[in-house]
């Protein structure tokens, strides 16, 4: 028996960390909430449809309830009237949860430098990934989602604990 030969036990077992398994399962089964605000939502739907097939990355199941979702895609212009509603929806989502700001409106107000538009959704909720474009093509949307998957894979439970409890404390 040489050192490069796996043992019988190693044929049936993989050793890893719990955190890594959890991150892997979370990153490959992200359920977004069905939530579109403006024209970016059309591109989001296009990314979810058969040509680009967002489901390949495990994120094609758009949930109609924030209680069952763990990703919020802000696809469109965020108005002052809509901001408290977004905040409520975000608060209703169970932890862990992530947010993608899609398009220049959700990122920084876009062309609407006006009285009614919140200049970026990060004034309302924390954002994980910003996707530029007006609107972004499905390719860039998928790239942004892959970046989010990277972020989920490298996240750690200890950091999350710190974020939630020590900030408020």
């Amino acid at each position: 028996m040489g050192m490069n030969q796996p043992t019988a036990l190693e044929h049936i077992l993989i050793t890893t960390k719990v955190e890594k398994v959890m991150n892997w399962s979370r990153a490959t089964s992200v359920w977004p909430v069905t939530f579109g605000l403006a024209c970016c939502a059309i591109e989001m739907m296009a990314a979810g449809a058969s040509r680009f097939d967002f489901d390949r990355f495990g994120a094609g199941i758009f949930r109609a309830s924030p209680r069952q979702a763990d990703l919020m895609i802000i696809a469109g212009t965020v108005t002052y009237k809509m901001a408290p509603i977004i905040k409520t929806l975000y608060d209703q989502m169970p932890e862990p949860k992530w947010v993608m700001a899609m398009g220049s409106c959700a990122t920084a107000g876009g062309p609407f430098d006006s009285y009614h538009t919140i200049q970026g959704v990060d004034k309302v909720i924390p954002v994980d990934v910003y996707i530029p474009g007006c609107p972004p093509r499905p390719e860039s949307f998928i790239y942004g989602f892959l970046k989010l998957q990277d972020k989920i894979m490298t996240s750690s439970l200890a950091d999350r604990y710190k974020d939630i409890f020590e900030e408020v404390g």
Partner: protein, 292 residues
């Protein structure tokens, strides 16, 4: 020497304190520019403007002639050649090409009928680019609308649109409210117009045309004109707690700072809003009364 692996801590900008001030130096084009003119189409104003322009033109021509006479006598006295006599400019063929259509005298039987029925309550009738306009007294708008709807010769069944405009430079009124009527059976359109001063509440058109409900709410929301006897005079586009009327000319494009509220930091503000809302449902007014 700084450690290469330690990331630099970004400087946190301090939150501005006190009332909201937009940085107009960064964007000078956002300064409020109040209009100096009243671009309200009207035949009376048009005729007066034409008369004034003709008089100014005549005065200018007389001055040119007088100047020429002085120059001529001066040249004769000095023994020089006489100056060239001035030529009066004739209006060119394409002078009116890029101008708005002229408000013409009313020829349409509908307008004449309406004026005959309303009497002196109709302030002005004219046609512009084939469209019929009738300006009525602001107290008689409901009567005029009822006539337009019910009179057998008019029969304007539908209120297609209702709009308002702010004219801050105008004398004696501040807003105009225009009722765009459509007759489906007669395939005609007619505009009724009232001029509303600040603080006046015109009669609501809801009893006659139910479609006026939301359009009057929108006018109230954007311009602050309240309509009397309206079933639900509340804001329709802006949130209920909005301050100011965005389509007024003195309203800044960037607003009064509502868009810069940090909903993440200002959790207390959110809670206060919710508390105000709950108190409002219970009929308690927690808001401090404000002087207008």
């Amino acid at each position: 020497m700084a450690e290469p692996n330690v990331p630099q801590t970004p400087e946190v900008p301090e939150a501005p304190a006190g009332p909201y001030v937009y940085d107009y130096k960064a964007a000078p084009f956002r300064q409020i520019a109040m209009p100096k003119t009243v671009p309200l189409p009207s035949r009376q104003t048009y005729l007066a403007e034409q008369k004034a322009a003709a008089e100014a033109d005549e005065a200018k021509w007389q001055k040119t002639l007088a100047d020429f006479e002085t120059a001529k006598t001066k040249a004769e006295a000095e023994g020089k050649d006489a100056p060239k006599p001035p030529v009066r400019p004739v209006p060119r063929k394409d002078d009116n090409d890029l101008k708005t259509p002229v408000p013409e005298e009313a020829q349409d039987p509908d307008l004449l009928k309406l004026q005959a029925l309303l009497g002196d309550k109709a302030e002005e009738i004219f046609e512009q680019a084939g469209e019929l306009v009738c300006q009525v007294k602001k107290e008689a708008i409901l009567e005029a609308l009822a006539l337009c709807r019910d009179e057998a010769a008019l029969k304007y069944e539908m209120l297609a649109d209702q709009s308002g405009t702010h004219y801050p430079a105008a004398n004696g009124f501040a807003y105009s409210v225009v009722y765009h009527l459509t007759s489906i059976s007669r395939r005609k359109r007619l505009r009724l117009r009232i001029l509303v001063p600040e603080g006046f509440a015109p009669e609501s058109a809801c009893p006659l045309y139910p479609s006026a409900n939301w359009m009057e709410r929108e006018i109230y929301d954007m311009l602050g004109i309240r309509f009397a006897n309206h079933p639900d005079m509340t804001r329709i586009l802006c949130p209920e707690d909005w301050e100011g009327y965005p389509l007024r000319k003195d309203y800044p494009t960037v607003g009064w700072g509502q868009r810069d509220i940090s909903f993440r930091e200002d959790r207390g503000g959110m809670l206060e809003r919710i508390a105000l809302q709950k108190a409002g449902q219970l009929g308690i007014n927690l808001k401090q009364p404000k002087a207008d």
